[in-house]
Symmetry: C2
Amino acid sequence: MTNPENRPLTLRDVSEASGVSEMTVSRVLRNRGDVSDATRKRVLEAAKQLGYVPNKIAGALASQRVNLVAVIIPSMSNMVFPEVMTGISQVLEETDLQPVVGLTDYLPEKEEKVLYEMLSWRPSGVIIAGLEHSDASRAMLRASGIPVVEIMDTDGTPVDSVVGISHRRAGQQMAEAILKGGYKRIGFLGTKMPLDHRARKRFEGFTQALAKAGVEIADHEFYSGGSALVKGREMTEAILARSPDLDFLYYSNDKIGAGGLIYLWEKGVDIPNQIGLAGFNGLSLLKGLPLELASMDACRLEIGRRAAEIIAKRVEEDADTPEPSHIALEPTITYGDTLRRP
Amino acid sequence: MTNPENRPLTLRDVSEASGVSEMTVSRVLRNRGDVSDATRKRVLEAAKQLGYVPNKIAGALASQRVNLVAVIIPSMSNMVFPEVMTGISQVLEETDLQPVVGLTDYLPEKEEKVLYEMLSWRPSGVIIAGLEHSDASRAMLRASGIPVVEIMDTDGTPVDSVVGISHRRAGQQMAEAILKGGYKRIGFLGTKMPLDHRARKRFEGFTQALAKAGVEIADHEFYSGGSALVKGREMTEAILARSPDLDFLYYSNDKIGAGGLIYLWEKGVDIPNQIGLAGFNGLSLLKGLPLELASMDACRLEIGRRAAEIIAKRVEEDADTPEPSHIALEPTITYGDTLRRP
DNA sequence: GTGAAAGCGCTAACAG
DNA sequence: CTGTTAGCGCTTTCAC
């Protein structure tokens, strides 16, 4: 407010303005230790009057503590991660920890860079999507000496703690449900991205479970980039033009599934009898469609919450129990209107 | 890698391991000043070997420079802001600046808190959504002495720079287009949130332009929370049950518009003749619908890019030209298949 | 309850 | 090209 030279204000300015030692000012501003009400009041007044904002950089350097939690995820436009973030925020809001997000675009090199950048701010913990990281990244995580929670996926070996679901099993379960529904000629539509390990694992689990029943995927279609809804339409049209005898389409995510569903609905196709459909994620948008798309909940919110809880707990307890938590959540199938029940 | 005591490594460790002074190690690690290739190599090797990650906290304190740009936005699940972020990231990636996101949930108190928190890290600049802030927030922004860019909206008085569109005018233009399309009985469907100032301004501009033509909104419906697609369906059903004679529905965002569109399409309503529809934002999902919803581009990516450019430029040039930029972008109408052209 | 001194790990500024 | 000296603005620790 009153800052004529426009020089960042320091504790000393507040000290001088209030006539209280820097040390006591610091105590007041952090609510630490006993300070008389009179002094406290004078300090608070001076601080507000000046418009003082503490310098966390100096504070962090002196105290060797940073109330930041690095959250490293592939993307924010995926619909999945905003919800994970919500879970993380919900939990961290009750602590004095703050999430800081870094985006990787599914690129290992970028993940490495972002991780390096974030670790250089010495956060109190790291929440990072996936179990697949470059050797350098894994080394940094281990060397950091702070709690690390890998999220989303449990199919692999974590550096420290892990919270997620088994995408391989998710793919298997969907395959089993589809077979039980009596479908035989199954098409798969998914993302081309070879770096989306979770989509890949679902695909693997899916084909594997089909194989166990002697069924093979009849056709498949992959995409990359663009609006998922549009791609869903286009791929559906393409795969059915090529293989008109398909009786089920399994989409690797709900958005392309929704696009396909709208397309088929337009065409007047009898769903789920002529063709059944399923997606993945359990997005709430599915309920706004003409038919509710079958899907599978990915436990996004819960994963975020659990991960944050692990970090928060470790930060509190500090030194002791460096026992890693390994939490595997159980996704559930929604049949909706597009997958015949057994 | 080789960090037995698990104590954070320091420059001194690298210095000792390489037999080079701390200062020179620092120079190598920052690519600053001339260092002989031999020394550089020794340092780099030692650093990598130890798995050293520089401490930016100490660096920032010493250099009084922080390569962070605070980005303060209401939400990440809005579809709008991820795209703004993309624009910001694109530009900042070419600099050594890094965006750090803070979320406000459209709450002024939360905005104030987040802003305080971020400013206490002394970022190089602030990009903040909207022009409406608490007095305290505005005071902090002004007192911070760093470049501030308010984004999304140009209807108001910025603290420093601003990049956005006029939402009031956007509402007006849509009203004019609707009238020119020959529609008379117009319904409005939107968010209840009184804190979404941009939606409010669009509504105001909309009604105002209608009024100028002697038309009044025939009915309206507001919602809050829940899946936008679902809400769009429900509100559309509700408003038409109440006012079956409406010939146009203007939705305050594309998602609820899409929900309404799907609902009406299901019902077999003749769009755009029996009823016309329009949304707002120009989301790419619109092209995946049975009909393309009329909408208006909000210039999200461009806003992000421009804002980041302003910050980047100011950080480079430093002291001079503290001349604020005021950039008003021009949104364009998409008629799609749901709004009759004049 | 309050204050003084000594750093936190790095970099600016200068000296060689 | 390399090294030395002083801090950056806070908090820790200990004294009063």
